[in-house]
């Protein structure tokens, strides 16, 4: 039982970490970033580079955040900016961008599976169960990301401008807010968070050019059901991630892998606003 509770919490945390970046972009720009998976991969390899140049492991996610953020901002300026009027084409263009990025990563780092020494290893005894310490740490990281993001949105000037752009873009423009800049930064932050997620999950997974892909569908569905709101995303991760853990434990992991997609699809059909406005 203790194990199951921890599985649920840590699964939700991983889902939250890997979908927060997508949510931010969707929430502000109403665009789905199909290059999300590629940015997660970028983050994983950024962590590898950080390791190779001798940065302490704690700084790897920060380094990934910066690399992903810069690449994301460039992508916004070169590609995404032209497609705000064509949101479905933005899906395709970001998908193509993801293909290109994956191929470039493959060309520079090879196709093989790489391996990063974990910054934290071992187990810890929680709720009467021996449990992977790193997974527990990720729960804390997820909470930290949620708090940091909430603080960014509510306590900073940038967050205020961003909320203003979400609520009423033309009014914000009329007040002198450069909404193009807000979008650029948002896309950068979203991609940066995806990359940071990539760096954060590498100690659990392997490092290869396709490492981000498994997280893509889960992130899409979670973001769709949460309708762009961060608290709703946290709730969706907990409920659907919890369901996934329960199905995986008691029925089988293969069905467990489908839980999120299927439940989210049905939930949206029955209740189109999803977890937003709960």
């Amino acid at each position: 039982m203790g194990n199951l509770i921890l599985d649920i919490l840590t699964t939700a945390a991983i889902l939250f970490i890997t979908s927060a970046g997508l949510l931010i972009i969707f929430g502000v720009m109403k665009i789905i970033n199909f290059a999300h998976a590629a940015f997660i991969t970028v983050g994983g390899f950024a962590a590898l580079v950080a390791h190779q140049i001798g940065l302490p492991p704690l700084l790897a996610p920060i380094f990934a955040l910066i690399v992903g953020g810069v690449l994301g901002a460039i992508a916004e300026a070169v590609i995404v900016r032209r497609l705000y009027e064509r949101p479905l084409d933005a899906i395709l263009a970001t998908w193509g961008l993801g293909l290109i990025m994956t191929q470039l990563i493959t060309a520079s780092f090879g196709r093989g599976v790489q391996f990063l020494p974990p910054p934290i290893s071992g187990t810890v005894s929680v709720l009467g169960a021996e449990y992977s310490l790193y997974r527990i740490v990720l729960v804390g990281v997820a909470i930290l990301i949620a708090l940091a993001f909430t603080a960014l949105m509510t306590r900073t000037r940038l967050g205020l401008s961003t909320r203003a752009v979400i609520m009423n873009e033309s009014l914000a423009q009329g007040l002198g807010i450069n909404s193009a800049r807000v979008r650029l930064i948002t896309f950068g932050v979203g991609c940066g968070l995806a990359a940071a997620a990539g760096a954060l999950i590498t100690p659990l997974t392997s490092l290869d050019p396709a490492m981000g892909l498994p997280f893509l569908i889960g992130a899409f569905m979670l973001v769709m059901v949460s309708g762009g709101s961060l608290p709703a995303l946290a709730l969706a991760c907990l409920v659907l991630g919890g369901l996934q853990a329960i199905v995986s434990t008691y029925v089988g992991s293969v069905l467990g892998g489908l839980t999120i997609a299927v439940c989210a699809a049905v939930a949206l059909r029955i209740r189109p606003e999803g977890f937003a406005r709960v």
């Binding site: 590609i79 193509g96 191929q103």
Partner: protein
């Protein structure tokens, strides 16, 4: 009325003239391509023939992707799943039951039926009134992923990751396969072409251009999308079955989402919204990857990715779109003009006997967004032969009231009946079926379609559109026809709606609404941005609609001169409440109205207080 009918006799569908020359041209093109497919195996090497057989089957699915995405605007990665379902159905049937003519029929039939059922289910999940297009696209992405997972879990029955292999299939030589697959592809292309250029096929482009307008023309958009997906699923499954019958294997990647994205890439590169573009895209990518991916296994995907992004961002109509635009510029004679539109009268709708019946009854209508109340306790009744103007300052709730009347899901409280039927919870297309027509504030037409086609779409609820033919005649009810003629739209039937002036767009939208033969018409600021003469034309038309055709018209309008000129009754809204409902004279001379418009707070008591005259007017 009858004189008009004599001048424009109702034309029979599909008669001679231009139509047949267009057909001849197309038949000629078809014969050329058909012959090419038949003789090509003698000239091509075995390798190319093999590659092309598979490419033909893939091109068939690409055509369905193009119809769904390019024509109807539904971006889908899910056609791969139906293709895979077809491939697996055939492969499993042949490996479980052996090969034979009966099994072959069973396999093809089962492939289509299963795919159609799955398509209908996915359609039901993806399309409902108010569904986001993102959501439908994401579902289309989930579908192949779930299906592949099921295939993986299917053990020996589905061959798990290794696919189903080792069954006997049609004993055809590769050259014969080439001809079968090539002719199948041409057949699908021809059928698709006939369907998308038919009267019913026009609906798809209308859905893509403006789904909301479709709903308010009484078109059940969800049903059309689900039907279309069901058909496209069955066709994709047939292609998949052919692919598996030729290749001797059904593999998970035939159903996977990577293949789904490749199909979209093919259509995007070739040119969406053009069947030829989809086919050219599919064939050329398949051929190029057969020759190049072997030579450049590492760079091929990178090249495709770069080409894809470039095309999406810079030339959304694809390579073939670019070619066609060039050809249209330099060799315009290649493009036959569309047949001339003949205006005709539609058979008048049978009207119930009751003269000037009540068509709108609203009791206690309210609308609030969270804590914010925009509309409260509005009572309004209107009957045929009345023109009711809705006036009030900005933010008074006029447009919100219009929305509540036209969409049963809008009002937070109250009872609204259109032609006696309560509309609570009803979606717009059903309310339109009750006899309501709604014209939006900003002209809402089908931008990429011709004027005639916009009007035909509006008629599709009454004249069941044919899937096979495209009718040159345009039959309109008298009211719509008078708008078309008075505005001069009848001289510009072939013009795309996006090229019309603002005034003509407004007229077109009104004509589209009137083509529905509604009993109740809602008009939201129809004269905004019109010139004086355009307004006068409009006023004449409205007066005629009300007095002659006995329509009930509810209009939101700012210009009181205009309101005075046309209204039989005026209703004043202020801060979400109905404060006055009376004749033109009563309202125009009401001090309350002056008060509202000159900017004083109105007390909660809606009764005008004559003593409270604003100082400014003294």
């Amino acid at each position: 009325m009858s004189e008009l009918a004599k001048e424009h006799p109702r034309a029979a569908v599909g008669d001679t003239g231009l139509w047949s020359s267009r057909v001849a041209r197309r038949v000629a093109v078809l014969v050329v391509f058909g012959t090419l497919v038949l003789v090509a195996p003698w000239f091509l090497d075995a390798y190319t023939v093999n590659i092309l057989v598979r490419a033909f089957f893939i091109a068939i699915v690409a055509v369905t992707v193009d119809i769904l995405w390019g024509y109807s605007g539904y971006l889908t990665f899910g056609q791969a799943a139906f293709f895979g379902l077809g491939a697996y159905t055939l492969a499993i049937t042949f490996s479980q039951l052996g090969f034979g003519p009966g099994q072959a029929l069973l396999a093809l039939g089962a492939a289509m039926v299963l795919a159609a059922l799955l398509g209908a289910l996915v359609g039901w999940l993806s399309f409902y009134p108010g569904a986001s297009p993102f959501y439908a696209t994401i579902i289309s992405l989930v579908l192949p992923i779930v299906l592949v997972q099921l295939i993986y879990s299917g053990g020996n029955f589905t061959g798990a990751s290794s696919g189903v292999v080792g069954y006997f299939s049609f004993p055809l030589m590769t050259e014969t396969w080439f001809r079968v697959a090539g002719i199948s592809m041409l057949a699908v292309a021809v059928l698709a072409h006939i369907a998308v250029s038919s009267d019913a096929g026009r609906l798809l482009r209308a859905l893509r251009d403006n789904e909301m307008r479709c709903a308010y023309l009484g078109i059940n958009t969800a049903a059309i999308r689900i039907t279309l997906l069901t058909i496209c699923a069955a066709i994709a499954a047939l292609a998949g079955a052919g692919y598996a019958a030729f290749g001797g294997i059904a593999a998970p990647e035939n159903a996977g989402f990577v293949f789904g994205t490749q199909l979209v890439v093919m259509v995007a590169l070739g040119g969406r919204g053009m069947l030829t573009g989809a086919i050219v895209g599919a064939l050329s990518i398949e051929l190029a990857s057969a020759y190049l991916s072997g030579i450049l296994p590492y760079a091929w995907e990178l090249l495709v990715g770069i080409a894809f992004v470039t095309v999406i961002v810079l030339m959304p109509s694809g390579l073939f779109g670019l070619l066609r635009a060039m050809a249209q510029r330099w060799t315009p004679w290649l493009f036959a003009p569309a047949p001339a539109v003949r205006l005709g009268d539609s058979a008048p709708k049978a009207r119930e006997s009751a003269v000037d019946a009540v068509v709108l009854e609203a009791q206690g209508v309210a609308r609030s967004f969270g804590a914010l109340t925009v509309l409260s306790d509005v009572n309004l009744t209107a009957r045929r032969g009345e023109l009711v103007s809705l006036v009030g300052p900005n933010g008074a709730g006029k447009t919100t009231l219009m929305k509540c009347l036209a969409d049963g899901r809008e009002a937070s409280a109250g009872d609204i009946r259109i032609a006696g039927t309560p509309i609570k919870g009803m979606v717009p297309h059903r309310i339109v079926g009750l006899g309501l027509g709604r014209k939006f504030q900003a002209a809402s037409v089908f931008e990429t379609m011709s004027v005639a086609d916009c009007l035909r779409i509006a008629r599709s609820g009454r004249d069941k559109p044919s899937v096979l033919r495209s009718c040159a005649a345009l039959n309109l009810p008298a009211a719509a026809r008078s708008v078309v003629e008075a505005s001069g739209l009848d001289t510009r039937f072939d013009e795309d709606a996006r090229n019309l002036s603002h005034g003509l767009k407004q007229a077109l939208e009104l004509a589209m609404v009137l083509a529905l033969e509604p009993d109740l018409v809602l008009l939201d600021e129809p004269t905004a941005g019109l010139t004086r003469s355009e307004r006068n034309v409009f006023a004449t038309i409205l007066t005629r609609l009300v007095e002659q055709d006995r329509l009930c018209v509810l209009i939101v309008e700012h210009d009181l001169d205009f309101v005075r000129q046309i209204s039989s009754r005026i209703v004043v809204l202020h801060q979400g409440k109905l404060v006055l409902d009376g004749t033109v004279e009563e309202v125009v001379n009401s001090p309350l109205v002056a008060e509202i418009y000159s900017g004083h707070q109105v007390t909660d008591d809606p009764a005008p207080t004559p003593t409270n005259t604003p100082e400014a007017r003294a």
